[in-house]
């Protein structure tokens, strides 16, 4: 169900939307004030009721995560905001940081208070220089107004926020790699347990949340947790509120759109995205970053025996509301909810090659199945595109990917394997055409 909202994006595009005066003129910082007048437990309860499913891609409930933080301890607790946006196809957090940085600062105040932290680090990838500058300015403005520092809004609960910078590594978007990077180390993921809430940044209890998740927490406090959750068409299955939907690739109106949770891929592509470039046919859509398996328009929802799927069984996957559990239920993944659309002009084998190249480049190299697997996959896909691969090697691709899955310290291996398995299975004919004829009947291009 398509329901556009403007809780987070109402100031996007306005002159100086990133300044505190514009932010406050539309109700900014009311939520932080409200949160600090509540008890910490009540703040966490409201966030639990809001059912904010983590917007970084994993979809874990933010309120539950906050609830893992210790009550009081000898060590300080930290909030770490994951602003290392780099999942191919994903460009939503950047809009928050550049166009509405105070919303993130306000979210940090709410989150710090909720989890019992006095310091927040916003880990921004190095390339986002404008985002970093706007965040620093927003922090300075908030501080000068007395919203941060020793007594935010007059409450004796000191909060400091720092912007930390990365240095070019996709893996640092993985939370434990991010923590290593924040600590000044190589960004290699850590074994868990211990989980960040037990031992995260600097050996202290830490909550790592995505930019959008933190920002939405403030909106949930402003509206009330339950009211926030009820905005969603999937409120009943604990996928609450609003979220940023992105659409890019072969659509007429690529961009970021704020809607209530429950939009379908068809609405995202044809209503928000304005339809396919050149009015071509849809080949497939990667729903939320390149780690998500590609979905084809002729795929049908078929989840018998699950009440949640009854209204959708027999329909195209394009008509299933985009939710963490709805997509999980059909063997897919919602990810970051920023879709990449491929028209029938695009050669799916080249698209797979592009994605595999990304993962080979970004594998941190710590675990053998991922390091060697990504390289091996790249060598084979390059052969496929050259027209020198064999049929056995197509099967080998699926086998390598399957052996990477679940055999690495972090989810990168799975994230690299899932799209490969989906492409090879769903576009088997196109791959075989490359083997048999060097791709004679393929477009051999990615552009319309």
């Amino acid at each position: 169900m398509l329901k556009q909202t403007d809780h987070l994006t109402k100031n996007y595009g306005k002159p100086n939307s990133w300044t505190i005066s514009v932010y406050e003129s539309t109700g900014g910082y009311r939520a932080a004030r409200k949160a600090l007048s509540m008890s910490r437990e009540l703040v966490v309860d409201e966030i639990k009721k809001a059912h904010i499913r983590g917007r970084g891609g994993a979809g874990f409930e933010a309120g539950v995560k906050w609830g893992f933080m210790p009550k009081e301890g000898e060590k300080p607790s930290y909030l770490v905001v994951n602003a290392d946006e780099g999942e191919p196809g994903t460009f939503k957090d950047r809009t928050i940081m550049e166009q509405n940085p105070h919303a993130l600062v306000e979210g940090c105040i709410v989150a710090c208070y909720g989890i019992g932290a006095h310091a927040a680090y916003i880990y921004v990838r190095d390339e986002l220089h404008l985002a970093k500058a706007r965040l620093w300015d927003a922090i300075k403005e908030a501080k000068s107004k007395g919203y941060l520092g020793t007594r935010p809004f007059g409450k004796g609960y000191d909060i400091e926020i720092c912007v930390q910078t990365g240095a070019g590594a996709y893996i640092c978007g993985e939370e434990s790699a991010l923590l290593n990077s924040l600590e000044g180390r190589r960004g290699e993921p850590r074994l868990r347990p211990p989980f960040p809430a037990q031992r995260g940044a600097f050996g202290s209890p830490t909550t790592v949340n995505n930019v959008e998740s933190v920002t939405l927490a403030a909106i949930a406090i402003a509206l009330g947790g339950e009211e926030f959750s009820k905005l969603s068409a999937l409120h009943e299955i604990n996928d609450g509120g609003i979220r940023l939907f992105g659409v890019a690739g072969h659509v007429k109106k690529p961009g970021i759109y704020e809607c209530a949770v429950g939009v379908t891929l068809r609405e995202l592509i044809y209503d928000l995205g304005g339809g396919i470039l050149g009015d071509r046919e849809l080949l497939g859509v990667i729903p939320g970053g390149s780690s998500c398996p590609i979905m084809l328009p002729d795929e049908i929802v078929n989840v018998p025996g699950d009440k949640r799927f009854e209204p959708y069984n027999g329909k195209s996957v394009l008509d299933l509301p985009m939710g963490v559990d709805t997509f999980r239920g059909i063997g897919g993944m919602l990810g970051t909810c920023c879709a990449t659309v491929l028209s029938d002009a695009a050669d799916p084998v080249l698209a797979a090659q592009n994605i595999i190249h990304f993962y080979r480049h970004e594998s941190c190299g710590q675990c053998t199945p991922c390091r060697e697997g990504c390289g091996w996959l790249e060598r084979i896909i390059d052969k496929v595109v050259e027209g020198t691969a064999t049929m056995e090697e197509l099967d080998l691709m699926s086998e390598i990917a399957s052996n990477m899955t679940g055999n690495t310290i972090c989810a990168f291996g799975d994230g690299a394997a899932a799209p490969v398995m989906a492409f090879v299975r769903k576009f088997r004919k196109n791959f075989e055409d490359y083997v048999l004829t060097g791709g004679k009947s393929q477009t051999k291009t990615l552009v319309v």
């Binding site: 390339e127 910078t165 070019g168 996709y170 290699e188 600097f202 690739g249 961009g255 970021i256 552009v447």
Partner: protein, 161 residues
């Protein structure tokens, strides 16, 4: 020659150090600070300096430098151009932009023009997928690029300032 920061930059370094509970956490921001003040690269002297200043082993600092793609271990050109090559941009014509740039600059990806003005690189997804194809020039983004606009940008980098 040993590397050192100016007095003003030293103050900046002190500000960075104040943000963290230990010195190691300053490693990446301090490396950026030094790289920006060392013609765009992290020389062995910079590694020695950062190690000594943050009380880390040179092995640790070198390990960090070699892990991240945005620390240069050799001097880049005066300007660095990154063409995003990842899927959303590729679907909007990044491949054509890259070929054009290679041709115009007379270099392959990863190389610097003979006059030392421009280093051409590819980037993996720069979170600008709705405005592809796009490039990053030094610290700024240029989005929704046409070949003509890209051409004008390259001309400025090659011939101005």
């Amino acid at each position: 020659m040993a590397f050192a920061l100016s007095e003003e930059r030293e103050r900046e370094l002190e500000e960075i150090l104040a943000r963290y509970p230990n010195k190691m956490a300053a490693c990446i921001p301090v490396l950026h600070l030094c790289q920006d003040n060392n013609e765009g690269w992290v020389s062995p002297e910079v590694i020695d300096y950062v190690a000594q200043r943050l009380e880390l082993s040179t092995a640790h600092v070198k390990g960090v430098v070699t892990f991240y793609s945005l620390f240069n271990e050799s001097p880049p050109g005066k300007h660095q151009v990154w063409v995003c090559r990842t899927l959303s941009c590729a679907l909007r014509g990044a491949g054509g932009l890259l070929t054009h740039a290679e041709h115009k600059l007379g270099v392959k990806v990863g190389e610097t023009t003979e006059d030392g003005r421009v280093t051409l690189r590819t980037a993996e997804c720069l979170a600008s997928c709705g405005s592809g194809p796009m490039i990053q020039v030094d610290k700024s983004y240029h989005e929704n690029l046409t070949t003509e606009e890209f051409d004008r940008i390259l001309d400025r980098l090659l011939y101005e300032g």
